[in-house]
Structures are given as structure tokens and as C-alpha cells.
């Protein structure tokens, strides 16, 4: 389990976040507050319309059109004191303002269909890290291959349409990592994937978190997915956090009726106690 470092406070601090629909004025996120500590993985779980994705997008600064943030000051990202990190190797060894990156639900459509994937990752390296053009291609291929994409990308680039859904999600993760993030925001990153591929991506994320010391916010409707990756869960309903706690406490001993309903609605896979 990742531990908050005692020397540093939370890296993400959300205080009374409110989001409403511009046209109708309807409240979509209704006073959400939480902290995330460096290196921690926090899950935002809930059903459709609960406000979990909007909360994540507000933190990224990627709110869709037609919704408004009441007060941008509700979100604070604390500077990173790299020296104080206890776990993982920080991507950058200086103290700095944390960088955020995000991966999305639909891995195929979140990529440019008309550009090769190596080129897409190289572009991020070039603009984000000022790496010269030629070197950026090599580095991009290195990064993609390290994330499990085929070696053949070195010699011939491929379009997203030529890759599987799981491979496209790895490209999405590569693009996020190319910005050297401190915080990785994940919006249902495995929902569109087959279960065996989902498992590979979850394992990849767990491994990256460990190696890079990432702080992660993980949005999912799937409590099982959340359970596999998250230290702590926040259950959202109708734009509010209704319950929060350590993952196993929430799953084994939910306090709120809504959480109980969510947990009980999970269909068991027989024979898992044998595992």
C-alpha cells in the first residue's frame, strides 16, 4: 500500500467543488471535497451521472462545453517536494509544480486516427520536453515498446486503426507518460477493453505507479477494477461523495445504503474463494 509521506501534505486538494450545467443551471457536482496524498491511488466510483468524470475533468481543466465550474479555486495542486518522496523514483529530481496527465475511456478515439502512433508520442516529447525531432522518434518508440507495444514500431509506424483496443490504450498511457506527470488521471481506462486486456492494463498501471511514484485518481463504475488498484475509494452519487474510506473497508463493510447496493449488485464469479 502506498503511504502518504509525513513531510508533505496532499498533492491534490479539492475543496467544495461545484459544477453546474450552463444552460439549465442544474447542479452536476455538488460540493465535492477530498485530498490525495503523493503516491496514493484514489478511486472515484459511482454510476453514470454521479459526477465522477466531471470531477476528474475539472481537476485536469478539461471540462466539456456547456458546464461551468463555480469556483476554480476549489482545486489546488501542491508543489512537489521531490526529495521528500518515499516511494518510487520521481520522474524529475527537482522540486516543481506537479504535472498532470490523463488517460481516457475510449483508447481508439482519443488518438488521432490519421497520424502514426510513434509520431503522436514523439510530438508530445518534442513540445513537452523540448527533445529534438529525430531523437523524439527514437524515444517515442522506446517508450511504446517499454509499455508492451511491438518492436516493429521502430521500423514502421502504425495508425491507431491498425492496433487493438488494448494497444491503443498503451499508446494513450505513453502519451500521458511522455509529459513526465506526477499525477495521472484515469477516466475509465479499461471499460472499453476485454477482460484479459483489462487485466494487462491494470497491471501495467500498477507497475508504473510503483516505478514512477505516480499519484493516481482513478474513475470507474466497476468496483472490482477499483478494488484492484485503489488504496482508497470515494463513492459518488448525484454529484456528491456519499461514502469514503479504505478500499477493503468500503467493500467489506459499506456504511451507506447506496454503497451497499453497489457492492451487492456485483455479480460473483463462482469458485473465487479457491483462488
Amino acid at each position: 500500500m502506498s503511504e502518504a509521506n509525513s513531510n508533505t501534505g496532499p498533492i491534490i486538494r479539492v475543496n467544495n467543488l461545484r459544477i453546474h450545467a450552463s444552460a439549465s443551471g442544474r447542479t452536476l457536482v455538488d460540493g465535492v471535497s477530498f485530498d490525495a496524498n503523493p503516491g496514493e491511488t484514489v478511486g472515484l466510483v459511482g454510476e453514470s451521472g454521479s459526477g465522477k468524470s466531471l470531477t476528474l475533468r475539472a481537476i485536469m481543466g478539461l471540462l466539456p462545453e456547456g458546464v461551468d465550474l463555480d469556483d476554480a479555486k476549489a482545486i489546488a495542486i501542491a508543489p512537489v517536494d521531490a526529495a521528500a518522496r518515499t516511494e518510487g523514483v520521481p520522474l524529475r529530481d527537482d522540486s516543481h509544480n506537479p504535472r498532470l496527465a490523463m488517460i481516457f475511456q475510449d483508447p481508439v478515439f482519443s488518438l488521432d486516427p490519421l497520424t502514426g502512433v510513434v509520431k503522436q508520442v514523439a510530438e508530445v516529447l518534442r513540445y513537452n520536453q523540448r527533445i529534438p525531432s529525430r531523437e523524439s522518434k527514437t524515444r517515442a518508440a522506446d517508450l511504446l515498446i517499454s509499455l508492451g507495444l511491438p518492436e516493429s514500431l521502430r521500423s514502421s509506424d502504425r495508425y491507431p486503426g491498425q492496433l487493438s483496443g488494448g494497444q491503443c490504450q498503451r499508446v494513450g498511457i505513453a502519451i500521458a507518460l511522455a509529459t513526465k506527470p506526477d499525477i495521472l488521471l484515469c477516466d475509465e481506462p479499461t471499460t472499453a477493453l476485454d477482460v484479459t486486456v483489462q487485466l494487462q492494463i491494470l497491471d501495467l498501471l500498477a507497475d508504473l505507479r510503483q516505478r514512477l511514484g505516480l499519484t493516481m485518481l482513478f474513475v470507474t463504475h466497476n468496483l472490482g477494477v477499483a478494488a484492484r488498484l485503489c488504496d482508497r475509494l470515494m463513492v459518488m452519487q448525484h454529484g456528491r461523495i456519499v461514502e469514503t474510506g479504505a478500499t477493503q473497508d468500503i467493500l467489506n463493510n459499506p456504511q451507506q445504503e447506496y454503497t451497499r447496493r453497489l457492492v451487492n449488485a456485483i455479480l460473483p464469479i463462482p469458485g473465487e474463494q479457491d483462488q
Binding site: 477482460v195 484479459t196 483489462q198 472490482g224 449488485a265 456485483i266 455479480l267 464469479i269 463462482p270 473465487e272
Partner: protein, 269 residues
């Protein structure tokens, strides 16, 4: 539970489908007794939906037969009665309901076409149709007063899927082919839909082919499980047997992956 000894109500025999050079379904067979339920599981590209489309008569196989009561059906041009008896529910309720039709029209169209409300030629009164529509909607758990006049966009995804199921049930089918009927829905709604399908099996003897990528869903509803991979049926077993002995490596991996994100008390590594 079903009586496996009883003769097959519905059968797919040696179905093969090709798209150009690509074999989407490769000699797949299954049979379904009255009131039986089989779960066809597998990952994307396995051929599950193609198989469902052959079963419902939407596409023709290049090889193989679909049989109802032991009688082979024409690949696509089935009789109206055969079409009535085999209904399909699609994965995405948004694209399977006509957005410009009211719920009344969506539900009544099939009843009128198939004369399920009375003899051919005698058009049933609006009262009779309305009563039957409300009955169907209450069966799927939708009971608002003004529901019949509303259009699909006035409903949530879960409600729309329930309307799609009500539409399939409106013509009293014997076989329901459901292609990922709960995949687009929240878990709490999924529970309601699965309960509904289980009830219909019991109360009306409805037979079910359930296409799903979710082993939990198949387990909740089906007597048998068939695993498809690359167009082939690689496992076909009673559900309880499958979960203790899934068989080939691919099925074991599928089961292990499903278990890895299930909520049995397990600890993180």
C-alpha cells in the same frame, strides 16, 4: 433448471459465417430446450454477435442451419410467425429504438403486425393496445402514467433498454436472443434486467441465448456456457461445471481475468 433431455426448441447447427476471407463463425452448434438459457461468452471479435445475428435471421450463414421445433428455417426470409417467435434485444438501446416514435408506437407496431392481440383483420381498439403496452412496461418495471406518449430520448439508458426488452416481449416470443443487454447499463440496473429475464424464463418458459463478455452475467442467468474464441466454440458446458473446470487455456485465462476484478475479499499485492 432445464430438462436437458427435452427436445430442442431452437437449434443452431454447424453455423459458419465468412466476411470475405475472414471466418467470423466457424462451424458452431448449440441447442436450446424450452425455458433453457445458454450464455455465449468471449472477447471482442470472437464471433458472438455474428452468431446472434444468424440466430435471429439478420444475416445468412454460408454453411449450417437454424432450426425451430426441429424444422430448418430459411436463412433470412423467415415466415412472419417464425420471426415473431424469435426476438432479439441489442446491446445499445440508443440505436435500436426509433427516436421519433413514441413508446406506444414502438411497442404496438409488432403486436399489430403479428396480430398478437386478436384475429387477423380485426384491428384491436386503442384501449386494448394501451392496456397491453402498460402490462408489458410494468413487467419491465416502468410504470409512469404518461410513459406511452414519450419518445426514447426522454428516458435513461437503462429505461430505454427495458423498453427494447418490452418491445421484444410484446409479440410473445419463444426465444429471446439478447446481445449484451446489460453492458451499457449501470450495475444496479443490470441487476433488475437480469432478474426480469430470469422471471420470464420461469413464468413464460422463455428460452434465452445471452451474448455477453461478462462471466458474472452468464453465471447469474444461464444453465450452460459456451465460450467462443476466434469464431470457434471452444467450450460448451453446464455453468456449474465451467466454473470449476473451464477447460482449455484460453477459457482458464478468461476466468482468471474475470476473477481478478471481482469483489471477493482479496488483498492487493
Amino acid at each position: 433448471m432445464t430438462q436437458h433431455a427435452s427436445p430442442a426448441l431452437f437449434e443452431l447447427r454447424n453455423i459458419t459465417v465468412r466476411y470475405g476471407d475472414f471466418t467470423a463463425v466457424d462451424h458452431v452448434s448449440l441447442s436450446l430446450p424450452r425455458g433453457g438459457a445458454i450464455g455465449v461468452v468471449g472477447e471482442s471479435g470472437a464471433g458472438k454477435s455474428t452468431l446472434a445475428r444468424v440466430a435471429s435471421g439478420l444475416i445468412a450463414p454460408v454453411e449450417g442451419q437454424v432450426l425451430l421445433d426441429g424444422q430448418p428455417l430459411a436463412p433470412i426470409r423467415r415466415t412472419r410467425e417464425q420471426r415473431r417467435r424469435i426476438q432479439m434485444v441489442f446491446q445499445n438501446p440508443d440505436s435500436s429504438l426509433n427516436p421519433s416514435h413514441s413508446v406506444y408506437r414502438i411497442l404496438s407496431e409488432g403486436m399489430l403486425l403479428h396480430h398478437t392481440l386478436g384475429a387477423r383483420g380485426a384491428r384491436p381498439s386503442r384501449e386494448i393496445i394501451t392496456r397491453r403496452c402498460l402490462e408489458l412496461l410494468s413487467m419491465v418495471g416502468l410504470e409512469d402514467a404518461d410513459i406511452l406518449s414519450r419518445r426514447p430520448q426522454a428516458f435513461s439508458g437503462g429505461q430505454r433498454q427495458r423498453i427494447a426488452i418490452a418491445r421484444a416481449l410484446a409479440v410473445n416470443p419463444d426465444v429471446l436472443i439478447a446481445d449484451e443487454p446489460t453492458s451499457a447499463l449501470d450495475v444496479s440496473v443490470q441487476h433488475e434486467i437480469l432478474d426480469l429475464l430470469a422471471t420470464l424464463r420461469q413464468s413464460q418458459g422463455l428460452s434465452l441465448i445471452l451474448i455477453t463478455h461478462d462471466l458474472g452475467v452468464a453465471n447469474a442467468l444461464c444453465d450452460d456456457i459456451m465460450v467462443m474464441c476466434g469464431g470457434n466454440s471452444i467450450v460448451h458446458k453446464p455453468t456449474a461445471v465451467f466454473f470449476t473446470n473451464p477447460g482449455p487455456q484460453y477459457a482458464q485465462n478468461l476466468l482468471a481475468a474475470a476473477r481478478s476484478v471481482s469483489i471477493a475479499p482479496h488483498t492487493r499485492g
